[in-house]
């Protein structure tokens, strides 16, 4: 049996019935990695020795009957994006400036997974500091889209999405600041969920833009996302922006009837420049939802046109400050220099890549005295308007449906010369981060070149249940998520 092909819930079943051992599962994953990783390059660090050791420990606990109850990821191999701190294991953010950084602490999300007995398979590649939409901005290497090795996997969680799509892990964690989970999930044909801001602790997530960053699961199907959400969600005393909101059992909602649910179609989201096949797939998906009882309603999100500009002021402002700590003094890369200022400048000049520098400069400019009012402050005001757009729309509908990305995966190098073109890749996902609401991307078709297309479902604050419910209902009517790339 090809264990690496299976989902969390399928493996759980086999493990619980003792038909396979944790080691069987872990070995199967590493065999798969051996076979395909050379082509994909999804990982920055592969933690095979630790994983095998951990598999033994977990198996022991399991055999003693000490651990299985309710522990849904016990013995399940997962990959973690390399911006989440893992104690004793390098955490680089795919940046040269952190190439040798080994955190002495564990992020809250990985601690929670660890308590449940997960097996860390490796740390995945990303755009440096999560800044990018193609994973081409990695300081180390480019990750390939498993569906077409000449194309990008999306980004910034491109490594995680590609690893899940190529069956190099059962599921993965990504982080999403402007679409970094949903866009690569769409481009790799997997499921990616960005939860409500504050739903999951950010403690241990290396910050890009603190008011927008959220961690979330990238999985092979909707059920696995719900399973991971159950573990990851909830208030954390180490993150005061994590919300003290009760966490439902997200798996309980799956399979419930969506008959009569109102799904909003924002008129501003069907724009020029969108690939025709993407548009038709999404419209097809809406019809499918209608066929199982959902009621489509046209809604308006009038400030959508300002989202990208707003995002690139706020995210870069926060980033310019968040990345100030990488000065070569205490950890990470340090370049030489004549004096302190020279050392700072050389370290940052050599340690950061071009896109990171571009964003630090943009953000520094936007916060500078004399410009603050016109940029940062104005952007905050627009952010409030975008939030209100969603509140208004959600008075009429339960969820909103949009394409995840205006195009399917583009070619490696196609947009690197034009940052603005690259930024527009996140045009449908960015508003969701600005509003702080949850969004999920699920496979909804393929282009004629066999490239996956993603459907985005957006929910109200802390209502991941509704988007999971609709996503699951849609998934039940299609086979898109079952398709595998030919590797």
């Amino acid at each position: 049996m090809e264990l690496y092909r299976l989902t969390i819930s399928e493996l759980r079943d086999l493990l619980d019935k003792k038909e396979v051992s944790v080691k069987d599962v872990v070995n199967s994953i590493y065999q798969r990695i051996n076979a395909v990783e050379e082509k994909i390059n999804a990982f920055v660090t592969i933690t095979k020795d630790d994983a095998l050791k951990r598999a033994d420990e977990v198996q022991k606990k399991f055999d003693l009957g000490m651990a299985q109850n309710g522990k849904s990821v016990l013995g399940i191999p997962l990959a973690i994006k390399d911006n989440m701190c893992t104690k004793g294991i390098p955490t680089t953010c795919s940046s040269k400036i952190l190439y040798n950084f080994v955190p002495p602490y564990e992020s809250t999300v990985t601690s929670r997974l660890m308590e449940q007995g997960y097996i860390l398979i490796g740390k995945t590649n990303m755009d440096e500091f999560a800044m990018g939409s193609s994973t081409e901005n990695s300081g180390f290497h480019v990750t390939k889209n498993p569906w077409d090795l000449k194309r990008i996997p999306g980004g910034s969680s491109g490594g995680s999405a590609a690893a899940v799509a190529a069956d190099e892990c059962v599921a993965a964690l990504g982080s999403d600041t402007g679409g970094s989970i949903r866009q690569p999930a769409a481009l790799c044909g997997v499921v990616g969920l960005k939860p409500t801001y504050g739903r999951i602790s950010r403690y241990g997530l290396v910050a890009f833009a603190s008011s927008l960053d959220q961690i979330g699961p990238i999985t092979k199907n909707v059920r696995d996302s719900a399973i991971l959400m159950n573990i990851l969600s909830g208030n954390d005393p180490l993150d005061s922006t994590s919300a003290p909101v009760t966490v439902p059992d997200f798996t309980a909602i799956l399979g419930k009837d969506i008959n009569g649910m109102r799904i909003g179609i924002p008129k501003e989201y069907f724009i020029e420049g969108m690939e025709e096949e993407v548009e038709s797939s999404v419209k097809e998906a809406v019809k499918k939802l209608e066929s199982v009882g959902a009621i489509p309603v046209e809604v308006s999100l009038p400030h959508t046109g300002y989202a990208v500009a707003t995002y690139y002021v706020l995210a870069t402002s926060e980033a310019s400050s968040n990345l100030a700590r990488y000065d070569g003094v205490k950890y990470g890369f340090r370049a030489g220099g004549r004096d302190l200022m020279d050392m700072y400048m050389n370290t940052r000049a050599q340690g950061f890549g071009a896109e990171v520098k571009r964003r630090i400069m943009l953000g520094t400019y936007a916060l500078s005295s004399g410009y603050y009012e016109a940029y940062y402050k104005k952007a905050q005001q627009v952010r409030t308007l975008i939030k209100k757009d969603f509140e208004e729309a959600f008075r009429q509908v339960d969820v909103i449906v949009t394409p995840t990305s205006p195009t399917a995966a583009f070619k490696i190098g196609e947009k690197t010369a034009d940052p603005l073109q690259m930024y527009l890749s996140d045009i449908f996902t960015i508003s969701v981060n600005l509003a702080g609401v949850p969004g999920i991307s699920i496979p909804c078709g393929f282009t004629s070149n066999n490239l996956p297309i993603g459907l985005q479902l957006i929910g109200k604050h802390f209502d991941e249940e509704s988007i999971l419910k609709v996503a699951y209902a849609y998934e039940q009517t299609t086979l898109w998520h079952k398709r595998k790339p030919d590797l």
Binding site: C85, S210, D327
Partner: protein
């Protein structure tokens, strides 16, 4: 032309919390370098600050004591600049929405009460410390202090002379010490002061160009540095020059202020709201709770001492300058009355003996009970006031000796160091005329 100085003070007070402002590290002073640090206060990637509630309570206490309004909604902000002792490359401080605003402190100027406005009080984290190696081409960074909670208390430009500035600082220190929120030690740096100074012709409404004087680290230097800077500015003005807006550093060994950086080199701190911390909302119930647990503050205490014990304003003012001193006084008066006599002995002989040893009232070996015992002997004519001085000195000396050898000594004081025993042993009884 006659000039008038206009001074505003920015005071940084280290708060006496057990732990740092955004993590659980100890704030204790004097430990080995970098031993009181964790990933949060040294700014490692991915960690997040969480506000210490005690810090908020302390700053609210201070705000209430200085008649500020407490904002029901306030925010932290990031102040961005690069320096090796600032591990994150920004300091978490408050900017647009400080926790306390619009208060005042009363000081006494030429026998009259003068209000010095408090513009704002806000919370922030302290930075670490750079230690520069004289010989080597390198410096050390100690981050024990990074994340120690500070409050910045900003006054209005209401101060008109170096003496008023000293009075203001003393009063502020007394209040902070009464509240137990800061130990007020300027030499150790737990109370630090920067001054904005300008001069204008007497009668002119507009302010002159100001300079900011930094590094003033004792009460003596508050006066000296300001006197120097005022004279320097007036000389510039009288010579027909213009004061340049700049930051100047007080050099206490040379006794002068020197230019540190001009307006052009001033930092652009790029303040913006701290996204890692949620806005602070303070509910009125908590403020009321804190209000009801506030100690009696020096101004109220002074008024009470004047009305209840018929002390002079001057004596009452001195007694309330330290809470421990006021407590010592009240304990003695409770035992025997005679507030005037108690006050005189405290202000005179007791202070003389303590000052000779550079001791504070907290370190005073004598108990109020011992003083009262001696007053009783004066009252019943056993000793004269003159002999009492000898008895008092002996009592102090003996008590100090007992206190250094035994720990639980209070009861021993009355056996070996009471005025009764001393008078008997030394044969100091007053010979009465009738005999």
């Amino acid at each position: 032309m006659k000039y008038e100085a206009v001074i505003g003070l920015e005071v940084h007070a280290q708060m006496l919390t057990e732990t740092k402002i955004f993590c659980g590290c100890s704030t204790q002073f004097g430990s080995g370098p970098n031993t009181q640090t964790c990933p949060i206060c040294i700014g490692m990637p991915g960690v997040l600050p969480v506000l210490n509630k005690k810090v908020l309570e302390f700053v609210i206490k201070t705000g209430l004591a200085t008649k500020c309004s407490i904002s029901p909604y306030s925010r932290f902000a990031r102040k961005n600049y690069f320096y090796p002792d600032l591990p994150k490359g920004y300091q978490i401080s408050q900017y647009e929405l400080p926790i306390c605003e619009h208060g005042y402190i009363e000081i006494v100027v030429d026998g009259n009460i003068k209000k010095i406005g408090i513009t704002r009080i806000h919370m922030e984290e302290d930075a670490g410390k750079n230690i520069h190696e004289e010989a080597g081409n390198y410096s050390f960074v100690d981050l024990n202090r990074a994340g120690v909670p500070l409050m910045e208390i900003v006054s209005e430009p209401d101060i008109r002379s170096p003496q008023e500035a000293v009075e203001y600082m003393k009063k502020l220190r007394t209040i902070l010490r009464y509240l137990g929120v800061c130990d007020g030690n300027m030499e150790q740096g737990s109370l630090r002061c920067d001054a904005n100074v300008s001069n204008r012709p007497v009668g002119q409404k507009e302010y002159g160009t100001r300079t900011e004087v930094k590094n003033i680290n004792s009460f003596k230097f508050v006066e000296k540095a300001l006197e120097y800077e005022i004279k320097r500015q007036i000389k510039v003005l009288e010579d027909g020059g213009k004061v340049i807006q700049e930051t100047r550093l007080w050099d206490s060994t040379k006794g002068i202020t020197e230019s540190m950086r001009g307006k052009e080199e001033a930092h652009d701190y790029r303040y913006f709201p701290e996204p890692d911390l949620v806005p602070i909302t303070v509910d009125q119930r908590w403020i009321d709770e804190i209000k009801s647990s506030q100690p009696e503050l020096p101004d109220i205490k002074r008024e009470r001492f004047v009305s209840e014990y018929s002390l002079t304003e001057h004596d009452a003012d001195l007694l309330v300058s330290e809470k421990a001193l006021a407590d010592w006084f009240e304990e003695a008066v409770k035992l025997r009355g005679q507030p005037k006599a108690v006050s005189n002995w405290m202000m005179g002989d007791l202070m003389r003996l303590l000052n000779a040893e550079n001791k504070s009232i907290e370190e005073c070996p004598l108990t109020p009970n011992q003083l009262v015992g001696m007053l009783r002997l004066i009252d019943n004519g056993t000793i004269s006031g003159k002999i009492a001085k000898t008895v008092f000195d002996e009592m102090y000396k003996r008590t100090k000796e007992i206190a250094t050898v035994a720990i639980e000594t209070a009861y021993l004081f009355d056996i070996k160091a009471s005025a009764d025993v001393i008078v008997k042993e030394m044969g100091l009884t007053q010979i009465s005329d009738e005999s």
